[in-house]
Structures are given as C-alpha cells and as structure tokens.
Amino acid sequence: MEGLTLSDAEQKYYSDLFSYCDIESTKKVAANGRVLELFRAAQLPNDVVLQIMELCGATRLGYFGRSQFYIALKLVAVAQSGFPLRVESINTVKDLPLPRFVASKNEQESRHAASYSSDSENQGSYSGVIPPPPGRGQVKKGSVSHDTVQPRTSTDQQEPASPVVSPQQSPPTSPHTWRKHSRHPSGGNSERPLAGPGPFWSPFGEAQSGSAAADAVWSGHSPPPPPPQETWVSFADTPPTSTLLTMHPASVQDQTTVRTVASATTANEIRRQSSSYDDPWKITDEQRQYYVNQFKTIQPDLNGFIPGSAAKEFFTKSKLPILELSHIWELSDFDKDGALTLDEFCAAFHLVVARKNGYDLPEKLPESLMPKLIDLEDSADVGDQPGEVGYSGSPAEAPPSKSPSMPSLNQTWPELNQSSEQWETFSERSSSSQTLTQFDSNIAPADPDTAIVHPVPIRMTPSKIHMQEMELKRTGSDHTNPTSPLLVKPSDLSEESKINSSVKFASGNTVADGYSSSDSFTSDPEQIGNNVTHQRSHSGTSPDNTAPPPPPPRPQPSHSRSSSLDMNRTFAVTTGQQQAGVVAHPPAVPPRPQPSQAPGPVVHRPVDADGLITHTSTSPQQIPEQPNFADFSQFEVFAASNVNEEQDDEAEKHPEVLPVEKASDSASSLRVAKTDSKIEEKTAASVPANVSKGTTPLAPPPKPVRRRLKSEDELKPEVDEHTQKTGVLAAVLASQPSIPRSVGKDKKAIQASIRRNKETNTVLARLNSELQQQLKDVLEERISLEVQLEQLRPFSHL
C-alpha cells in the first residue's frame, strides 16, 4: 500500500485511538475487537468496514498494526466523507476530516472526536501563516509544511510520517487545545499541550512500537488539535509511507530508531512550534529532549558547539527564508561567537518551530529561550564576551575549554566555552582574551594589553621586555654601578609611553624608589627604583594595587620592600637591598617629592639644565636632613601633586623639605607647565611641593594649572616624559643622599651616613650628566613632535 501521510491532527487522533484500541498494551496491535467496535462506531456499512480492513492490510496480517490501524482510520474518514474507498484515496484526499466515530462507546473517542473537531476549528483560525488553511481547515495535509520539514527529515531516514508525525501543535492552537483538553477529563495530562505533542512525539519516535509513555500521554489528554504543521507528514513524502506499511511490529524496532530520528526532527519542529507558544516560547521537556537529541546528531558532545556552517545546513532544511533564519540566528546566538551551544541550539530550534507554526519571530530573544547561564553547569567562569569579534566561519567545535584565565563572572558554561572558543578561534579576539585574562590577574601588570583593562588611565603599556629590563636593571643596579640602570633607563624612557600620566607615575615611582632606598642605600636603589617605578607606572595597575587606585604612583621606593607593591610581585627582584629606610608606603602613595623636583627642572629645557643642577644641588642639601621623614613627606607631597590638588596640604607636611629655591621651584613649575597638562600637574605639583614643602603651596598650583592650558597645544609627551624622568631620576638621587640622614648619634651611623651620602652624591652627579643627555634627546624629540603636531593640527581639532 502506499504510504500514509497524516496531518498532525490526524496523527494525534489516530494515535489516541490506537492506544485506546490497544487494550493489550502491546502497542503494536490493535485489538481486533476494539477496532471492529470502533469501525462500527464509525457508522459505516459493514461492507465498507470490511473493505477498509482489507485495504489496510489487517485482514492480510490478521491484526491491526499501527500502520494498518492508521490506514484504516484514514479510510474510515475517507468513507465518511463520501469518497470511494481506494488505496490511493488515503493520501490523495485532501482536507479529509477526521474519522468520526459516533457510537462513542469510549469516552475517549467521542472526546477525541469532539476535541478534534474543535481543534480543527482552532486550527483553522491559526492557519494563518502556515500553509493556507485548507478549506476544511481541519486536516491539513500540510503539503507545504511537508516541504519545509521534509528537507530536514529527508536526511534522516524515512520515517513513517504518519505515526511519527506527532501532533505538532501549532502554537496558536495549542493553547486552545489545551483548554479543550482540560475540559475533558482525560487522563489528566496536566501538561500543557506542548507537552502533549512532546510526548506524543516520542511515541511516534518509537514509531510503531509506540512508547507507552507516549500512548499514555496521548490518551491522557485529548490530542491537541493537529498542528498545522504537517511537516512531519511531509517527511512522509519520502517513502515513509512505504516504511510505515512495511513496518511490522517486529520490524518496528528498527524502524523505530530511524523514525525516531526522523520523527525527532519533525517532532522537534512540531513540538517546538507548539511548545513555543504555550507559554509562549517555553520549551517543554519533550521538546527539549528532542532538541538535545538533534543536537547530538550534529555534535555528539553536549557541551560542545555546533559550528555555524553545520547549524546553517540544519536549519536551512526547515525551509524558512534565509532572512528569517538569519534573524533566528541573531536571536539565538547569544554570545555571538558563530557557534551554537546546546542552549542556543534549542532556542534556535524552538524559534524555527515557532516560525513554521506561524508565529512571528520576536525582536529579541524571549527569556525562556535565553541560554541559561548555569545551564550546562560547567563552572561558568567565562565572562561573557559581548560582541566578540565575529565568527570567522568555522567556529571551533573546540572542546568546551573554559578559559582558565577568564574571570569567573556569572557566565554560563556555554558562554564560557564560546568565549574561550572565540579566543582560540579568532585571532582578532586575542586582544580581548588578553584583556579578559587581565581582568582576573591584576597581578600581571606586565601585560601591556592590560592597559585597556586596568582602571588606571595612566597605564602605559610597557613592554614586557621593558619591564624585564627594568627588573634586570634593578637587580643589576643593586650590585653594580648605577650607571647601567641609568643607561637603560634613558632608553626606557624614550620608549615608554607618551602618556603623561604614566610619566607622572614614573616620576613618582622613581621618587619612591629613591626614598625607599634612603637608608643604607646609594643611588643604586634610586635608579633602580626609578626604573622600577618607571615600569610600574607603565604597568599601570600593578603599582596601583599597592597604592590607592588613583594616580598616586607607587611610592614604594624599593619594590622589594613593599610587599604591597606589584612590582615586587612582578619583578620578584630586588629585595631588601633597596628597602632601606623607606617604609612601605601605605596605599596612600606618599608623593615623591623627588620626582617633582626633578621633572620640574627637566621639563623646561632651557632652564632645565640649570634647574636640574639647582635642584639636585638643593635636594641633596635638603634631603640629608631628614631622610626618613623626608621620604614620606616627599611622597606625600608627591601624591598630593599627583592628585593635582592638595599639594599644599602635603607640602605642609614636610616641613623639613623646605625648598631652598623657591625660585627654582617657580622655574620648575613654569617649566612643568610647559609640558603636557598631566605632566605639568605632576611635576609642578611635585616641584612646588618638594621645593616649598610647606611654603606657599598655593603659588605653585596655580602656575601649573595655567601652564597646563598653554601647553595643551604642545604634544610632547615623550619629551616631557623624558624630562620628567630625568628629573625624577635626579630627584631620586638627590633625595637619596638626604635620606640617610645621620640621625644616629653614634659615630658609626654618622660615618655610614656620610659614606652613603658621598656615594649618593657621586651617583647623583652621574645621573645628572646622564639626564642632561636625555634632556637633549628629549628636546630633539620634542621638536620633531612639534613639527608633526603642526602638520596634524588642521585636522586634529574641529
């Protein structure tokens, strides 16, 4: 016999009837008794009944298998409609109403009939988008939907469309159906209609073996109105009918599997459609199960991804227009990685089903379809990657590797996987991955890319190499002459960022370093500190970690000492040696007076040299007085200056560091002003702070401010940096000697301090010369930058 194509409603109905007749619970055979009873209830003449039975093959087989039963039912409907009973009529008659069994011995039957009829009415109302409702509106052969579904299932083996096609509730109908069902005390299938189709599907999936559950469910609630989708049926177009017919209970198992797959597809669709509306867009368990199964066919690993290309093929089978599929994809690919996780896949599938059932796609993903963040339970720690760089076409099915570095945000595992995939897959994401990585590890200031991430705006992106250099320098300087670090430093300075803030930090750092090493330290620590601080400034956050977030550059003069210092962590170097007297500055970075001094003079080239000299000369004088104390005060001052504001207050704190040269201060502040605003602020602030240390702090601040504005036009971050750096260095060095103030009364201490001072002096002198060199270089750079600026000027500001 030819294959039997049933509409969804028909299928449901038939299935229900079959279960009814299946008193022996064999799910394969309809008891002849019941069947005959049923046929008689159809109010057909006996000869017709006999003919039907013959046609469906029951007489041949001697029993009513599911397929036979269905065919028989169909023939009953045909007969009841008045069409001649022929084998061909099973499929050719369109819009066949459901067979009516009047003599409702069985409450179910009547119920079903009633429900079906009512359902069909509902259906009619919904036909809407889906293939135009047939005239009767009841049974939709769904040729159209067949087509849509067909491609999808065609790949699966053929399935007995009819049995398989579980009642795909069109979403709109399902609610109605649901209500209807509820009216009937059927078995109390409390599940929503969506669930109905779901379980229904599975039974169908089992094909003729008819899962008990499905049957139970089926009988439990009145079959939902046949969904307009006859997509399942369409699958039948491929020779499922033959399959159906040929399927014997014995062989059902085999085919069941096949059908399951096929039916799964259709069932999914149907289920999806229905389920999508129930709540609306809610996925019932059966549907979900179906989706999961489908997912498995594409990607065996449930935690994996389905690449975009595979998903595209899969969903193209649904025959939805590309535009709609594209929209569905946009909605369901939650993390925009070009791949679908299980959740995303289910959501997409659900949307497809809904769409096929005539529901318009939402503009944004419904909540119930959102990929559950904790769905796959895999320690979601990947932060969501919003709009990660796109998919490059072959999203890795990468194993659900969660990027370990990902900060554990509350991201679902799928998100995590996808994110990690993104990173792995797309080179473009490298930076983002780096960024993400950095999120967590604030520890690694070394990563230049983290600049983006770190809150500190100033952060530079010192190259790791640079930092290593710094590290080396630090270590080297500890033991060797300071010149090496100095030498390195200038180069570093030049490479380093052009960011003013970083410069500030650098100077701050250097100062801090200088201070820390005050005690028994020579210029080495200063230099090292400078280097370190320099780096630190660049590294940005790391230094900040120790100091309170904002700017205050890490004052830790000696990285080794300050435990809080990132530098310590980062460089893991320089321990102890530089510790000197400088106490680990509390998070509130003590301003570095030195840098302020140094940058000041350095900044202004013409006067810089002089300034430097004066500063250095003065600083040493000042410094020796109160090394320890000075450090803090200076640092504090620095901090203040960094903040741009309260230098005055800070300055006040450091009585001892009275700036000898107020003039030089002014000069330096002026010079500072010339530089970039930030640098200016810092240097100016620091300069006045350092110099005056309590003297008219008010004066300096305004100056820098004023200057800053002026210098805005000048783009010489590098130059400034350099100058600052040199200045810082000088300052540091200068401060250093002063630090080891021979407070100690005993000779030894004094002698030691004297020695230190001398060493510091020499170092400072050397530093000075080197800074001069740097200054010249910086000046040259400045000139070049100025030229560039002029060139760009017309375009830079509008």
Binding site: G308, S309, A311, K312, F315, T316, I322, L323, L325, S326, H327, W329, E330, D333, K336, D337, G338, E363, G387, E388, V389, G390, Y391, G393, E428, F795, S796, L798
Partner: protein, 109 residues
C-alpha cells in the same frame, strides 16, 4: 562623493603600514559647495571599509565620537558576520544591526 572617499581610503591604506584601524579623513568643502559633508573612513583588519558621511551643519562631531561610532559599527558588523546565514557582500538585513546604527545616528543628531 563616496567614491572619492573610497579612493582616499585606499590611498591611506597603502600609506600607513599600521594604524589602519582608525583612519579618518575629512572632506570639508570638498563636496558640493552647498553641502559640507565630512566623510570619515574606517578600515578594519580585514579590509572592510566603513564610510560615514556627516553633515557639517551638525556641530562638528568630535573625533572621539566618530571613533566610538566606528567601533560600535565594527562590533555590530562582526556580530552580523557571525551569522552563518549571512553571505558577505549581501545587504545587511540584521535588525539588531539596523537598530544599533539608527540609535547611533539618533544619538549624534
């Protein structure tokens, strides 16, 4: 006018070895005398070019704004590309993309 801007973009691409990502050019007055449009260009690493034409009557948008707009545009574009159903070269019909672009334009104007 768009074609001339494309030419300029190409020229800039060849000129700069790096910093492709943030190119911009202004054509102030270059276009019709009556209309002062500024044309901004932006090129991605994959040589996809974005051209933005802005009416100068709009108080000149700051450079940063343009840059941020381009970044958003780029991000949305990559999202669109993610879609396997989208064929590069087709007219973009993504609703999310369109809404983003519209919101951006509204925000500026």
């Amino acid at each position: 006018m768009v074609h001339t801007s494309l030419d300029v973009v190409d020229e800039k691409i060849s000129a700069m070895g790096k910093a492709l990502v943030d190119q911009r050019e202004l054509y102030l007055g270059l276009l019709y005398p009556t209309e002062d449009h500024k044309v901004y260009g932006y090129v991605t690493n994959s040589k996809v070019k974005f051209v933005m034409v802005v009416d100068s009557s709009n108080t000149a948008l700051r450079d940063n704004e343009i840059r941020s707009m381009f970044r958003k545009l780029h991000s949305s574009y990559t999202d669109v590309m993610c879609n396997p159903f989208y064929n590069p070269g087709d007219r973009i019909q993504s609703r999310a993309f369109d809404s983003m672009v519209t919101s951006m334009m509204v925000q500026v104007c």
